[in-house]
Symmetry: C2
């Protein structure tokens, strides 16, 4: 193995690519003969492979799984975000958070009822819904409790992966129709300001949603990543509220009731509201603020050697597009602008990347996201000052990873300050 190293510690892509002779990885072959002998022992070209099939499977060594935090009907499983590439989450590992388990719903008997302050109370079968003008949108869904363990630093160690820290996050291409189309169909009465969204699960999940979201970008979706929505994500149809907390995007949606006021359900008073230090509470804290996390390097990766590595991660904001992600390798003293992967979509996971020449010394990696409203992902101290220690939701403070001299990467529990 002949590795050529670059000694400069530079976070500049231009410098990296312009570096003459600055090889990143790979083996230089001394002779052409050398080159031609690499295939001898287990040459796959000597064996006829299997033919086409009706449905494909992952390569045996490339199995991905969710981390089942609680397998109970009111439980959750977390997406292996550190193992993903690109922005699309494979549908079968989209995170789960259920309150009464996954109901079994036959598509033939499915109905969506819209009533309350409407001109024409109506019900729609799945076939009815699919006749409306459709839309697709690639956007993230994040549980508003995502990051709980990292905020409270309890019951966890520094040996925590992005999956275990922030795996209640996934992105899909969702397909359905604009909720505004359905609301025009039933005719919303003047004075209607809110609607109740009710699910068909055993928890009968109910949330009150401001009607402005329906006129903006809310959807009823029946499709996920090209096919029917998965049972765990609301089959046959769910409410999609791009950028808002996952819980409000009611799965297995069966009823929408329009009203002039919110319904004050358990899931927005007892739960999914944020007690504040001044003894008031944030109610209806729907929007997921800008957040980011470095997914490479992160626990459990071990960097085998110093030299060039690409720091990678996700950034996302419920308020629109990510316009900038900054990365620090020295615990927040210096920040460098990362590259964003096009297309950068509104309210969608966005990949950021920046080359890093690790000098082999202990390093603290951090990222902070900035969205198109100018909002900057806060530090732990900034978030704690505003939200206090009573909250259970919306933990979007800056995450930290420690790279040890031996290459191990650990969650920077104490470095998140």
């Amino acid at each position: 193995m002949e590795w050529k190293k670059i000694d400069q510690h530079l976070l500049s892509r231009r410098t990296l690519l312009a570096a003459s002779g600055g090889l990143i990885s790979g083996v230089i072959l001394k002779t052409a003969a050398n080159a031609m002998t690499v295939f001898s022992p287990t040459d796959p070209t000597k064996t006829i492979g299997r033919g086409s099939s009706a449905i494909g499977k992952r390569a045996p060594v490339e199995q991905l799984t969710r981390y089942v935090n609680r397998p109970t009907p009111s439980g959750e499983s977390m997406c292996p975000i550190q193992d993903l590439v690109g922005i699309i989450t494979p549908s079968d590992i989209h995170f789960e958070r259920h309150h009464g388990g996954i109901p079994t719903i036959e598509p033939e008997t499915y109905e969506l009822l819209i009533h309350g302050m409407v001109e024409r109370p109506m019900k729609f079968t799945l076939a009815d819904l699919k006749r409306f003008p459709q839309r697709s949108r690639i956007c993230f869904i994040e549980c508003s409790g995502n990051g709980y363990s990292g905020y409270y630093k309890q019951g966890i160690t520094e040996e925590l992966s992005p999956q275990r820290l922030d795996g209640l996050l996934s992105t899909s291409e969702w397909t359905g129709m604009m909720l505004s189309t359905l609301f025009r169909e039933v005719g919303v009465k003047p004075g209607a300001k809110w609607f109740l969204a009710e699910g068909s699960d055993a928890a009968v999940m109910t949330r009150s949603i401001p009607i402005e979201k329906a006129w903006d970008d809310a959807m009823i979706v029946f499709g996920q990543n090209g096919e029917a929505i998965r049972p765990e994500q609301g089959y046959p149809a769910r409410l999609l509220l791009p950028g808002w907390e996952g819980n409000s995007q009611v799965k297995w949606i069966r009823r929408l009731e329009l009203s002039d006021k919110p319904f004050m359900t358990r899931e927005e008073t007892s739960k999914y509201s944020d007690p504040l230090p001044d003894c008031t509470a944030r109610l209806f804290s729907f929007v997921m603020d800008a957040k980011s996390i470095i997914t490479f390097p992160s626990f459990p990766y071990v960097l085998p050697e110093k030299g060039w590595w690409e720091i990678q991660g996700f950034a996302w904001s419920g308020r629109g597009k990510i316009i900038r992600v900054e990365v620090s390798t020295d615990g927040g003293r210096n920040w460098y602008r990362a590259e964003l992967q096009e297309p950068v979509l509104s309210k969608c996971q966005t990949r950021f990347r920046i080359p890093w020449n690790w000098n082999g010394r202990k390093s603290i990696l951090m990222s902070r996201a900035i969205d198109e409203t100018g909002y900057i992902q806060p530090s732990y101290a900034q978030l704690e000052k505003v939200r206090g220690k009573g909250t259970s939701y919306h933990f979007n403070h800056i995450r930290a990873w420690k790279v040890e001299q031996d290459g191990r990467v650990l969650l920077g529990l104490n470095e998140m300050a």
Copy 2:
């Protein structure tokens, strides 16, 4: 069932959405009591559902499968494009076209060799490759023989689905690194104009690629829709040449050899070249020209009644973005501009949609795509005039569907003229 119908035959989205009382589908409920009785018989809220799991499965009634046209090692399977929503193709039903079957390659032993007219012949393990700056790109791959049966109108009937007609088409989010990055790493010698791409399959698939494509947008990809590339699509790595014919995007890539001329392999002389009427041949006809197909309504759908339906389909071009899709419901006499689903991405399947108020009479549906170069998808006659009857590739002429009075939808074999 009380259906309200709209009588106007209008292809205007604005008109549709502005239509007061112009209900598309659904049942109007006479009383509120009526509304509250819809859940009685099989109410899923009365049963606790199953909890979270490590990996999800499709809903039992929502199984998708490829159509295996030939299960042999040199065969293909076709994607059910009429059943898809959005633009992403689920990875396990991405179309297949193999020439020596799917090789079994262990990622630990995988190597990519780059040699020939380079300064430093090098080989790269999969781990080596993953250290380079990465990129993701959502783009289509289409077999250049896609649509063969429709062009020759042989051995097929009007009872042919989009899957059977044009199912050698899929779109994924691909992740890897720019080939230009690797070429800079090895140092391309002056005078190198082509490179050979060689696969690890039993066919030892080899194609010559102009080096300009490497400096433009060619990639080596190891990721597909968020995870490792599937075995059928080239695990652990393939060549990605956005917009070019599928065969040239060599799967299971193991060797790139730079040269000052093309290698004139079997797969670009005997195959994947187009004999022309004047007894010359199109060699190296890489680019997939603009094409479109209506996927709804299409065979085997049967429209249950007249009224509003949304015509939907895909358009794509190997030369860049689709800028316009036009739809006709009268066999090409009148054309209406369809809506394009954002984001419209370069060299990517693009969804088009247009509302249609079917009057219950026989109708001929067609679509034609126009890309950013100004290229217009040709009629059958236009294509046949240029390409003749000796070609086996690049069948991008306008497709037609017949809607019969009884609502059946059939492939317009004779209407494709």
